[in-house]
């Protein structure tokens, strides 16, 4: 997209760090570099006093039981009961990106960050209207969250190198052709210059 991303008022923005959990990303090739980049994005956000919100996927026994067979992604997963248990260390936010006091942390049981969470209400309570997105996978939580958040009227900035997918072709096409209709897609290195308090 030729369009320049707008300046971002840090007080009205939140960085969403989505599904960065050991059980999900540790088996990825290149995970160390990916986690370092996401950590850098979080550090930039903290420095500018941008709200950080973590989203993790994890299930209680009741959550597993509540997944109907009609849900294609999750009914498959229910067979591996326990793999994503809410209290398992594997489903905690990754230790290299650990939340701090004042951060928002929500637990979800579907793909998108808004489905099954109170994230939307918590962001609106703080008058946040701009979301910076980092997540794994690009075709999973990032895609579902972009589509949903756009229809909820958030201004969206996708941090392309703070997102990844097992399929690089899918990652690239979503970043280059699909997300730009609804979001500004930028690299983490472009973020600091955009974060400016409104006068």
């Amino acid at each position: 997209m030729a369009e320049q991303p707008p300046l971002i008022d840090p007080r009205r923005a939140a960085l969403l760090v989505m599904d960065y959990q050991a059980g999900i990303v540790d088996s990825l090739p290149g995970v160390d570099a990916l986690l370092s980049r996401v950590a850098a994005a979080i550090a930039i956000a903290r420095e500018h006093e941008v709200q950080i919100a973590y989203v993790r996927v994890a299930f209680t026994a009741a959550d597993y039981a509540a997944i109907p067979a009609t849900n294609r992604s999750f009914s498959r997963m229910a067979g591996r009961a326990g793999a994503m248990a809410a209290d398992a260390p594997q489903t905690a936010v990754h230790s290299r990106l650990a939340p701090q006091a004042g951060d928002i942390v929500v637990r979800k049981t579907r793909v998108g960050a808004f489905a099954t969470t109170n994230l939307d209400a918590r962001l609106r309570d703080q008058q946040i209207d701009t979301l910076l997105l980092a997540g794994f996978a690009t075709s999973g939580v990032v895609l579902s969250t972009v589509r949903d958040a756009a229809d909820r009227d958030y201004r969206l900035i996708v941090l392309s190198d703070a997102c990844a997918d097992r399929d690089p072709e899918v990652h690239e096409l979503l970043m280059e052709k699909v997300f730009p209709r609804q979001a500004y897609v930028i690299a983490i290195s472009n973020l600091p210059e955009l974060l400016r308090p409104a006068r």
Binding site: T70, V111, D129, D151, D153, R155, E169, L174
Partner: protein
């Protein structure tokens, strides 16, 4: 798509015909073939007693005013004043796939078919848990609706050749790599065999 194709109980299924409006049809080529396939699907659904529901994009003056500038996709559309007026010919459902009495028609002002509409409630009131999707465009209403409906636990069947996109690369990637995470992707020709009417 190596899985076995699902049987669809016609009593609990709905065909969603989304954004088949001149405003979007005119962005495509080979639309006669597309429209005749869509008309055929609708005829099959009617014959088998499957509910048909339509979504269309259209705005009243108040709706335009309610789209904030930070909503990128609609901010761009809103600059073409009047193009998506509720009473403009461009927003009427194409006559070749026109609704009939007893069909559900929702008017929407965002991308996804569920965003700010009563479609979800209407479907649940009829205990419909399976959606058969046809729409324009694949990377617009179809993508947003697939993501949202999956997290709402609907069983999803996407009719690949009753969905279209200006960009064939995007159409191909979504149908082959992105939608199969959340939906069964089939062709119109495969549908009749899958629809099972209860005895």
């Amino acid at each position: 798509m190596t899985d076995q194709l699902p049987r669809i109980d016609t009593r609990y299924a709905a065909l969603l015909v989304m954004d088949y409006q001149p405003a979007w049809i005119q962005t495509l080529t080979d639309t006669d073939v597309l429209l005749s396939r869509a008309a055929r699907v609708i005829a099959i659904a009617r014959e088998r007693g499957t509910q048909v529901a339509y979504a269309r994009v259209a705005f009243t003056p108040a709706d335009y005013a309610a789209v904030p500038a930070r909503n990128l996709i609609f901010n761009r559309l809103a600059s073409r004043a009047g193009a998506l007026d509720d009473d403009a010919p461009a927003t009427a459902i194409d006559h070749r796939v026109a609704p009939e009495p007893g069909d559900k028609v929702v008017r929407k002002t965002r991308v996804g078919a569920f965003a700010r509409t009563d479609l979800d409630e209407w479907l649940r009131d009829r205990t419909i848990d399976t959606l058969i999707l046809a729409g324009i465009s694949t990377s617009g209403v179809v993508l947003s609706t697939v993501c949202d409906a999956a997290d709402r636990d609907y069983r999803l069947v996407v009719l690949a050749d009753a969905c279209a996109d200006r960009d064939p690369e995007i159409q191909d990637l979504l149908m082959h790599k992105v939608f199969p995470q959340r939906a069964q992707v089939i062709t119109v020709a495969q549908l009749p065999d899958l629809l099972q009417t209860a005895r």
